[in-house]
Each structure stands twice: as C-alpha cells, then as structure tokens.
Amino acid sequence: MLPGLAYFLLFHYGALVGNVIAFKEYVPFDGLWGSPWTGGGNFQRMFEDTAFWDSVLNTVWIAVLQLVFYFPVPLGLALLLHSLTWSSVRRFVQSVAYLPHFISWVIVVALFQQLLGDTGLLNSGLDGMGLHTVDIIGNPDAFKPLVVAQVIWKDAGWGTIIFLAALAQVDEQQYEAAAIDGAGPWRRFWHVTLPAVRPVIVLLLIMRLGDILSVGFEQMLLQRDAVGPEASEIIDTFVYYRGIVGGDYGFAAAAGLFKGVVGALLVYAANKVAHRLGEQGVYK
C-alpha cells in the first residue's frame, strides 16, 4: 500500500498544506515558505472583487440550469431503455449512448464548433434553405444553453447506468403481481418502477446540490475565448486566469480555498440532509 499512500500524502496533503499561500504574498524568488504573510489580505481583496462574485454567480447559474435541464434526461432515457423488451436493441442503444462519455472535452468542443459554428452543419443547412444563419458558438447569450446541451450530449447516456441498475434490482414478480391485481402500465410505473429509482434520484440530487460550485472546468476554459469572461467565467477559470496566467498566486489560492471550504461544507450539509431523509447518503 506504500506507493499509493505516498501519492496521497505528497500530492494531496502536501498540496493541501500549500494552501497557506492563500495567506501570503507569493514572491517567486522566495518560494512558498519564504514569501511574506499578509494575513487575510488576499481574502479581503477577493470579497471586494466584483469579477470574483460574477464568476460565483455564473457558476451557480450554470449549475442550476444543469439541474433543471440535464438532470431529468438520464432518468427519462433509463426509463425508456428499461421499458424495452427487445434486449438486443436495448443493448445496442446503451452502447451508443455511453460512448460520448469517453470522448475528451477538447473533442466535444471541437465537434460542437464544427456542427454549430458559423460554417458548420447547421448554418450551411440554414444558408442552403435561404434562412438567416445563427451564431451559436460565439454568442455570449447562447453560451449557457450551449454548455448544458454539451453536457447532455456527453453524459446523459452514461448517467443512465445508475438508474438502470436500480431498475434492474426490482423483482419481476412485483410487476407480475401488480399486473395480476389489475394494475395497468401506468399504475405499475407509478407503484413499482418509481419507488425503485426514488432513492437514487434523491441521492444524485443531493450530491449535485453539494457540488454546486463545480461545473465543468475544462469545458468552460476551452470556450472562454470564444464568448468572453462575462458569460463563461466560473470560479475555477477565475482561479486559473488570476493565478496561473496572471501570476497572482496568493489571491487565486484564496479564491480556490474559498471554493474548497464552501464546497466541502455543502457536501457535508447535503449528506446530513440525506441521512435526515432516511437515505443512505454519499458516505458512511
């Protein structure tokens, strides 16, 4: 177990200790430990920075949009797949739907550019029919729906796995018994199928709420140039641009630490709520 443990101690706990930089003014020449302390100075600057709060707002906004528009899709797809009795069709569709999950964000973004960009499939189609073309990729107003659509394309299929697993655990005899008692398809759905996936729905919802400060970092970073920071800056890209690009390490680490602490508190609180509701929760 030593190599794995050494990895965690060095790259997680070592880096965790490195968070002291959030309370320092980083001077490259003096290194992490030699740099002077500033106390809460970085945090004070951060709380007064409107760009920081804009990025928080964007993050939460995108997370909420995902919750409303992405979250139901895997569930619906899983219910659809579960209702198929022709198993070869079901397995084929499952294989196809899982696939985009394994494609990198670079490729997904490139794909969307090719299909929806100004010379892409959609616009040459519209142009060919003599209609106005639409700029979806470079338009800041369209950015949030676009990123939600990308998440749906990439992960909705993969997200069905956990629902399908819950559905598969239902004993066939329950359906049979319900059918013999005279329950039609809708009643069977309502009284047998839904209760089976309810714990999973609650669990995933709570996890999503706890994770609300994290939306796809790579996804946003890749597309930030096309639409500008107003529409696309999230906390993670804010940290990246201020710290690694801008060299303001202490300040960016403070923003990252803020996100980490609030995120951990949210996950903890969400898990408490899960226990309160009698669900299993994420851990223990």
């Binding site: 177990m1 190599p3 794995g4 990895y7 965690f8 060095l10 790259f11 997680h12 070592g14 880096a15 965790l16 490195g18 968070n19 930089i21 992490l32 579960h82 209702s83 198929l84 009795t85 198993s87 070869s88 084929f92 294989s95 739907a97 899982y98 696939l99 985009p100 394994f102 990198s104 670079v106 490729i107 973004v109 490139a110 794909l111 550019q113 090719q114 299909l115 010379t119 616009n123 040459s124 299929g157 796995i161 956990i162 399908l164 697993a165 359906y175 049979e176 059918a179 013999i180 970092f217 890749l222 993670d236 940290v239 710290g243 690694i244 390490y249 990252g256 996100k259 996950v267 851990y283």
Partner: protein, 306 residues
C-alpha cells in the same frame, strides 16, 4: 441490464417479454422508436461528419461550406499529411506513451492500496481509508497543486502528467469494493497454503478481479488519453500530447505550420483538422467494444459499496 437467462421454447424471437405484459399500443411503440433513433443519430451523425470530412478533398470541403456528409472522392491525403513525421506524429507518440505508462503505474498503485484497504486488520487501515476519502471531500486546489509540481521540479517533464493524478479515489473505491466481495474462505485457504500477502494478491485476487481491473484500467487509460489541461499547464509545446495539439489547432484555430517551421499562420485545412480529431478518437472507439460489457458490473460494485 441483463435479466437472468430464461429458457424459452426454440424458434421464438429473442424477446424477454413476460406473459403478463401486454403489447404496447402502436403509437407508444412508434414514439419509443423515434426517441431511440434520435438518441442514436445524435451520437453517430457528428462522428460520421468528422470522418467523412477528413476523407474528402479540400476543394470539396470548401465548396460545401466547411463539411461533407458523404465524400464523392474519398482519399487519405489528410492523414498522410499529418502523419508525415510532423507535430501530430510526435504528439501521438507522447499520448500513447503517457497513456500506457500512466495506466500501468496507476493500476499498480491503486491495486496495492485497494488490496491493503480491503483486508480487515491491516495496520493503520482505517485511518488511511479516512485520509484517502477526505481528499475526495476536500481537493487541494489548483494553485497549491501547481506550485507543488513546480517546486518538485516536474515542470516540462512527462512525469507531471502522471504523478499528480496517479490514484483516483473513485477507482480505488471500485477496486476495494470488488476485493471485499471475494469470499474470505479463499483468502484463508491461500493463507493456509503458506502464501504471503503478495502471493495471495497475484495468484488469487487478481485473476478473480478481471472485470474490475478492466473497467478501472479503461477509466485510467481514457483519463490519460483525454487529458489536456495538465499538458497545457506543465509542458512546453514541443512536448505536447495529442489533445493539446487538437486544442491549439482545431479548437483555437491557430496555424498548424507555425509550430513546426516557426513561420506562417495559415489555419490548417478542414480536412486536416478533422483527421486529427479522428486520430484522437479512434483508440477509444477501438478498445470500447471489448470493455463495454464490464461497465455495469464494475461501476456498480463501486457505487454500491461506497
């Protein structure tokens, strides 16, 4: 999800429809068929467009407004151009190397740690488990991680793509769950035969865990193959893996020539861009069908046990 195999009378259509389930109305069936077709097309058409465009001639692509659905005169010219020993060939080598070495190292560390954490009574097992799970709840953050890599002198080395992401907590939990599912009697029998921990792991546990190893190995391989952010963070351009090359020349649209010869910023032709995309996707498409059958099993062991 596969249902338990039911013996059906010979000569019947392979359907698992139970006798009590009524056949859905034609309208419902049609709606379902349309929905499934839409899902399949939404995934397949983008890939088809990419492959077709990469095979078409530049003239045809330009005449068609940037893409082709069915090339009239398919050729492999774009592939010959990029695989001619230029930046893409080099990047392909880097990606393959990092993926292979990274996956093996990650599996080694994950398997040994998961095995230690799965056996009861290992010295310090519980605190180490909590230590590991805590990192899941509280990741260290981008800036400290970056400074750590910098202070360790790993900047611009391939190790910076592997070491900081060596063990993934989710994969660890999947493997641990799987190891815990192996009956205790097997461990005890091996113990009685005088096998040490390492021996038990290699000759008893691993052969029984092929499904879990396949899934976790795939997850690692895909993560290494797909990663570009660490490359953009830690590496100079002459060490770039494929995803970072893709990002620069396809997503950001910089000229393909300017990194190789240092002059000229002509954007690479569409066919070449698409060919790079295809090359970056093909390895995943190749291993995917072989490992796909293990997904549900592997993912579920992790999900349930955690």
């Amino acid at each position: 999800m596969r249902r338990s195999p039911v013996r059906r009378p010979p000569g019947r259509r392979p359907s698992t429809r139970p006798s009590w389930l009524e056949r859905p109305r034609p309208l419902t069936q049609a709606a379902k068929a349309v929905a499934l077709a839409v899902v399949v097309l939404l995934v397949c058409v983008p890939f088809l467009v990419i492959v077709s465009t990469s095979l078409a001639s530049t003239d045809e692509v330009v005449a068609n407004g940037g893409w082709v659905l069915w090339p009239t005169d398919p050729s492999l010219k774009a592939y010959r151009d990029i695989l001619d020993g230029g930046i893409v060939t080099h990047a392909l080598g880097v990606s393959v190397g990092v993926t292979v070495v990274g996956t093996l190292l990650s599996l080694l560390c994950t398997v040994t740690l998961a095995y230690a954490l799965a056996r009861p009574g290992v010295f310090g097992g519980r605190p180490v488990l909590l230590l590991v799970l805590f990192t899941f709840l509280f990741p260290p953050g981008m800036i400290p991680s970056f400074l750590l890599v910098k202070e360790l002198g790993l900047l611009d080395s391939y190790a910076s793509l592997v070491l900081p992401v060596l063990v993934n907590v989710f994969n660890l939990v999947v493997l641990r769950g799987f190891f815990q599912g192996i009956p205790d009697e097997l461990y005890e029998a091996a113990r009685l035969d005088g096998a040490g921990d390492l021996r038990v792991l290699v000759s008893v546990v691993l052969p029984l865990s092929k499904a879990a190893l396949a899934v976790v190995g795939l997850f690692y391989a895909v993560a290494y193959w797909n990663s570009w952010f660490y490359a953009s963070l830690y590496l100079e351009s002459d060490h770039w893996p494929l995803q970072q090359v893709l990002r620069t020349y396809v997503v950001a649209g910089s000229g393909l020539t300017d990194a190789t010869t240092g002059e000229g910023t002509v954007t690479a032709p569409q066919t070449v861009q698409m060919a790079v995309l295809v090359i970056a996707t093909v390895p995943i498409l190749l291993i995917y069908p072989f490992l796909q059958k293990y997904f549900t099993k592997g993912v579920l062991t992790g999900a349930i046990k955690s």
